[in-house]
């Protein structure tokens, strides 16, 4: 049975299922319970700044649902140590921008322990983090920094595009034995759809064809899948058949799915809401040129945010974010 859930509800359900099925799974982060003192009558927990984890402390208790101080480096470093010594922590980094305060535990510890130790350790850690623009949260609470974690060997980076995808991908991430950065794009948080009940996993590293097409491939991930679908609907009205591919995970990357779609359509547009330099979009463009050159009937197009910080004004933020019109323009330029 499926019921309608928004993305936060689907994530909450995935965490609860994972915690019920494995006593080594814990949840830790700033205000994941939210409030600290569970004994005070007339108070309720916040369940995180967006309410995503509300109710979990009631079911699993304060031993397994831990409010940390606002100390991201201690939070993530401790989670890495716990993961290397028998726990399977889900650590919440409230906004991905806060990577600036706590990169070392991810870059130099989580990503490298297994390799440095010759394969004699594992770090089954999931870092849930809210990424991307769309809430007028401005320059320090809106960045899509998945390009950075994607570029670090030893880390995996996952970014779901809808509530049902978020549930299955999060369950797979939590149960994965490697450190996973799980990006919850702001652009999908208010999305509501049918989400299957019960326990299911979506394997990491397998992209999904969301819409079949034959004339052009639109590759998206996270919030840009919806942008690609809007563009595909408009293109269909104009007689162009667009295929939409949802990458689901950026590392591992389903290269065969990207090249398979390119082989079918001969034209490639990548839609990425991060800034363009050293981006996932340009990485996939390079893949298409390197391994798919013979399939290409037109230049590869990258539709990304501009090389700027994220602005506050709603007008500016919309100008910053890639839109369906930007995708249509890119397709138009391909001739």
């Amino acid at each position: 049975m499926a019921r309608q859930l928004h993305t936060g509800g689907a994530i909450n359900e995935a965490i609860a299922i994972a915690m019920r099925s494995d006593p080594s799974v814990i949840l830790m982060g700033e205000d994941v319970a939210g409030g600290g003192d569970r004994s005070k009558e007339g108070t309720e927990e916040m369940g995180g700044v967006l309410g995503t984890t509300r109710g979990l402390v009631g079911e699993f208790g304060m031993n397994r649902v831990r409010d940390t101080p606002i100390a991201e480096m201690g939070l993530l470093g401790t989670a890495v140590g716990a993961a290397a010594t028998g726990l399977r922590p889900i650590a919440e980094l409230m906004f991905m921008d806060f990577l600036g305060t706590c990169l070392d535990p991810l870059l130099n510890q989580a990503a490298k322990l297994r390799y440095m130790f010759g394969g004699k350790a594992k770090v089954p850690l999931t870092v849930r983090t809210v990424s991307g623009a769309g809430m007028q949260a401005a320059a320090q609470h809106s960045q899509s920094l998945y390009w950075m974690t994607t570029g670090i060997p030893g880390l995996k980076t996952v970014i779901p595009s809808s509530p049902s995808e978020a549930k299955g991908l999060l369950l797979a991430s939590i149960r994965d034995d490697d450190p996973v950065i799980f990006c919850e794009a702001k652009g999908i948080l208010n999305q509501v759809e049918d989400v299957p009940e019960g326990d299911y996993e979506i394997p990491l590293g397998e992209a999904r064809v969301v819409r079949e097409g034959s004339d052009v491939s639109l590759v998206g991930f996270g919030a840009t899948v919806r942008v690609a679908l809007e563009a595909a609907a408009a293109l269909a009205g104009a007689g162009t058949s667009a295929e939409v591919l949802d990458l689901r995970s950026l590392s591992p990357l389903d290269e065969e799915a990207v090249l398979g779609s390119l082989e079918k359509t001969g034209r490639m547009v990548i839609v990425d809401e991060s800034t363009p330099r050293c981006s996932v979009a340009r990485d996939i463009a390079a893949l298409c040129v390197d391994r798919g050159f013979d399939f290409l009937n037109a230049p590869v197009k990258c539709v990304t945010a501009p090389h700027t910080p994220v602005p506050f004004s709603g007008v500016l933020e919309q100008a910053f974010l890639p839109s369906a019109q930007d995708v249509l323009d890119a397709v138009g330029e391909m001739g």
Partner: protein
């Protein structure tokens, strides 16, 4: 003293092994047989051994760039360590870690760490594991005086104190953060003073005296095991060698260094106390010296014969599954 004659021989054997290991390493570096950055633990032996004598394999330690002593004190195989430093496939880390990442998780050794302060949150996490899973184990973090200026120290000790974690934070205050004297970099008289900021117990031990470290570490570890939370233990010690192998040490006064080496050597102090108490005889210790030298000679000979990694090994051990 709760240590038997056999215990004390074991203590001396580990301290002597650390000293001889580091001296052997200097020879190997001079002979061009070992590459990479190397930081020696000579002079600080009483700290690692004084603390780790209280620990079992299921207790964890986190370490620093100066980590060989912590490995040996925690019971990591010395031959596999030498093989690692000679970059062999038979090394503790299969030749992928080297000196600054030498580790053996099965022995509860969570790795030397190339990032100053980087090991402190890792042991805090190991203590969290013990607490969540209800295990009677403790986690001990070793770090230098310099690391106490890092945010990782501050954030980790804050969390450990909030949660009453079974952790002991052992600061090896050897007087220098790299080349800069501690008093230029640390604005408090004793590192132990910093514990007050976390509402944490603190103790100061003479890091050159095994018996003092042993007693104070024992108290802190026992309290942690009983669920009475973390302690910051400052051990005042001295780095007999430079910051790294090859450091010309122009920043240290030669008489000061000689004074520590001649009058405060932790192995000499141990020997005089143990022999004056009549528990061990000098002959017992010379026998151990010979056995340790023999072990290291064998370790080097075996490692030199051991296979190097294959180039294709560069691709393995990045992920469990990818």
């Amino acid at each position: 003293m709760d240590l038997s004659r056999d215990d004390l021989l074991g203590v001396y054997r580990r301290m002597r092994t650390i000293r001889a290991f580091e001296e052997k390493l200097q020879e190997l570096v001079a002979a061009g047989k070992v590459g990479g950055f190397m930081h020696l633990y000579v002079g600080e032996e009483a700290v690692a051994v004084g603390v780790c004598t209280h620990l079992g394999d299921a207790d964890y330690v986190g370490s620093t760039h100066r980590g060989h002593g912590h490995c040996i004190a925690k019971g990591v195989d010395v031959k596999a360590m030498i093989a690692e430093l000679l970059a062999r496939r038979t090394g503790t880390n299969r030749g992928k870690g080297g000196s600054m990442h030498i580790a053996d998780v099965d022995k509860g050794m969570l790795g030397a760490n190339g990032i100053v302060g980087g090991g402190i949150p890792l042991v805090t996490g190991a203590a969290l594991s013990a607490q969540v899973l209800g295990k009677p184990n403790v986690a001990v973090g070793f770090f230098g005086d310099g690391a106490t200026n890092q945010g990782q120290f501050h954030e980790s000790l804050t969390m450990a104190s909030n949660w009453g974690l079974p952790a002991v934070y052992v600061c090896e205050n050897n007087g220098f953060g790299e080349f800069t004297p501690t008093e230029f970099a640390v604005p408090v008289k004793d590192i132990a003073d910093r514990a007050a900021a976390y509402g944490m117990r603190a103790e100061i031990a003479d890091g050159m005296d095994f018996f003092d470290v042993y007693e104070k570490a024992g108290r802190a570890i026992e309290l942690a095991r009983r669920g009475e939370g973390p302690t910051l233990l400052e051990c005042k010690t001295y780095r007999f060698a430079g910051h790294y192998v090859g450091d010309p040490t122009p920043y240290r006064n030669k008489e000061e260094v000689e004074d520590w080496i001649q009058n405060r050597d932790p192995l000499d102090l141990f020997e005089s106390k143990a022999t004056e108490a009549g528990v061990l005889a000098a002959d017992d210790l010379r026998t151990v010296d010979g056995e340790v030298d023999q072990l290291l000679r064998e370790a080097v000979a075996e490692a030199e014969q051991a296979p190097k990694p294959e180039p294709a090994d560069v691709l393995t051990d990045v992920y469990v599954r990818y």
